[in-house]
């Protein structure tokens, strides 16, 4: 089996525009951009990935930013980026400057702001317009997936019925 090797490189978020411009000039392909939830220091990680079809090499550039901060859009260089940048804004509350097509928070019709930002957070619900003059408030609580939900990421995980998963839990 051949593993897929990706280089992960730490950068400052403000450098991404220059990097993307150089990648475009060098005929690299833009794969995607996404955000990760805040780490222990409270910083949100943003990951931009590119691919070189000649060398079959993927590179991911990672930057840590404060929650709610803004980064530059790559949609002027790679037009397909606007989909992922709007998604990042709607799900993680990262403002992206100069998106070629900015939905201003209406890309995904989610029921609360930045729903993926916090673990197990009980967020205030958003009022949804029905388009006929009426509205309804989505007040349903976060319904946990059937089964036991983990409250603390550092807490030990529950035992599982599958023997291999149970083995993984004990680090065998």
């Amino acid at each position: 089996m051949r593993f897929q090797d990706t280089k992960f490189i730490q950068i400052d978020a403000q450098d991404i525009l220059g990097i993307a411009t150089a990648k475009r000039a060098d005929d690299w392909r833009f794969l995607e951009v996404h955000a990760n939830r805040p780490n222990k220091e409270g910083k949100v990680e943003i990951v931009w990935s590119f691919f070189d079809d000649r060398a079959l090499q993927a590179v991911a550039y990672e930057a840590f930013v404060d929650p709610g901060s803004s980064v530059d859009s790559l949609s002027g260089i790679f037009p397909c980026a606007f989909m992922f940048e709007n998604e990042m804004h709607d799900l993680y509350d990262i403002t992206v400057r100069n998106i070629s097509l900015d939905y201003h928070g209406n890309f995904y019709q989610v029921t609360c702001d930045a729903p993926m930002m916090d673990r197990d957070a009980d967020k205030p619900r958003r009022t949804v317009s029905l388009g006929n003059g009426g509205t309804y408030a989505t007040t349903a609580p976060d319904a946990p997936v059937q089964g036991e939900a983990r409250q603390d990421p550092a807490a030990p995980a529950h035992e599982d019925e599958r023997p291999d998963a149970a083995g993984a839990a004990t680090g065998e």
Binding site: M1, F3, A58
Partner: protein, 362 residues
């Protein structure tokens, strides 16, 4: 200058099995701009990494989409194996590719049927889906359901497929091929099909690159981007693999690429079934993904390249799982293609990117 009119297209439309909306700006009957709107059924599946451990999450990943369910379980499993440095048994690699190619055939036959239905050729639609049923019968016989679930997991595949069964699959596909050739000839040679698709929705190779198109949409514009060409997994055992491409860049070319890819998949399955080695099909995974470990892997799904990014945190739960699906990156190219087209051609153009909204709204 003609007066501009805004025409809403979707989210409910006869050619759209799933909800996507387009704001079409028209001048007379010509589209000058198309603005997409997705997000009607966003499910937040990626957030379930908190609720399901990294092995259980396979069952979430394969439920992203009903058509490419096997592709998602395979892509996610490869990402986990890449992250944890797990060597999958060679036989499992072969079985994965065989089933992945059958999924591609099933997806393309489904699309060909939908396309025929969209341009009013109902008998062709029925014949395409009749052939697809034979594949679904194979799925049901070998994996227990018409949608492949719980077959591919991190470490390999859950059970072996015996060589006699593989021979039966190859025999079925060989029998399908004769029928398929007749259907393919109708798709490619029939005057009414050509009149609806030829010269419609043109996308140049340069634009396909600029807009980041993948899969048959990119290959129909002459760009041979195909992850299978990178020699990963059992694809490296193929004697010869060359992506199917076309230079025309129109709807007909996109149909042509998918028609030829079904034949190519039959060839791949036949070759791998004759070469498959004996041995185990599953290795047990021990331990958890290390804290801070990251993996980004690619897989060629029926609609194009999908990306899987996962990150570990030292527990059996992942810190993050991110799936970039082919439709997400084909939509900007589709909107560019719609510019300058006739309003009557919009359904065909939208259909020829084979949009999968449940993938996009994972």
């Amino acid at each position: 200058m003609a007066k501009k009119t805004l025409v809403p297209f979707g989210p409910q439309h006869p050619v759209l099995p799933e909800p996507v909306h387009l704001d079409l700006v028209l001048e007379d009957e010509t589209v000058v701009q198309a603005v997409p709107q997705v997000g009607y059924v966003h499910r937040g599946l990626e957030n379930l990494v908190d609720k399901r451990d990294f092995q259980q999450f396979t069952y979430i990943a394969e439920r992203i989409c009903g058509i490419c369910s096997f592709g998602h379980s395979m892509g996610y499993s490869q990402a986990v194996e890449n992250l944890m440095g797990i060597e999958v048994p060679e036989r499992a690699e072969y079985l994965r590719v065989i089933f992945h190619e059958m999924s591609r055939m099933h997806s393309h036959l489904l699309w060909l049927g939908l396309a025929a239905d969209a341009f009013g050729f109902e008998s062709l639609f029925m014949h395409s889906w009749r052939l697809r049923e034979r594949l679904l019968d194979i799925f049901e016989r070998t994996t227990g359901g018409r949608v492949i679930l719980n077959f591919c997991i991190p470490g390999g595949v859950v059970h072996d497929i015996e060589n006699t069964e593989l021979e039966a699959i190859v025999s079925t596909l060989r029998g399908m091929r004769e029928d398929y050739d007749q259907i393919a000839a109708t798709f490619l040679d029939d005057a009414s099909v050509r009149s609806r698709l030829s010269g419609v929705g043109y996308l140049s190779k340069a634009d396909a690159r600029t807009y980041g198109c993948v899969g048959p949409m990119a290959r129909a514009s002459g760009w041979d981007v195909d992850v299978r060409n990178n020699g990963l997994g059992a694809y490296s055992a193929l004697a010869d693999f060359k992506p199917v491409t076309s230079q025309d860049g129109d709807c007909y070319a996109r149909c042509q690429v998918r028609v030829e890819e079904v034949r190519q998949s039959i060839d791949i399955i036949t070759e791998l079934a004759s070469k498959i080695p004996d041995g185990e099909t599953l290795v047990k995974i021990k331990g958890n993904p290390a804290e801070g470990a990251e993996s980004l892997t690619r897989i060629e799904q029926p609609r194009g390249e999908a990306i899987y990014y996962i990150k570990g945190n030292g527990t059996k739960f992942l810190e993050r799982c991110r799936v970039r699906t082919p439709t997400s990156t084909n939509i900007p190219g589709m909107c560019a293609t719609l510019g300058g087209s006739d309003l009557a051609d919009v359904p065909n153009i939208v259909l020829t990117i084979d949009p999968c909204i449940s993938c996009s709204e994972r």
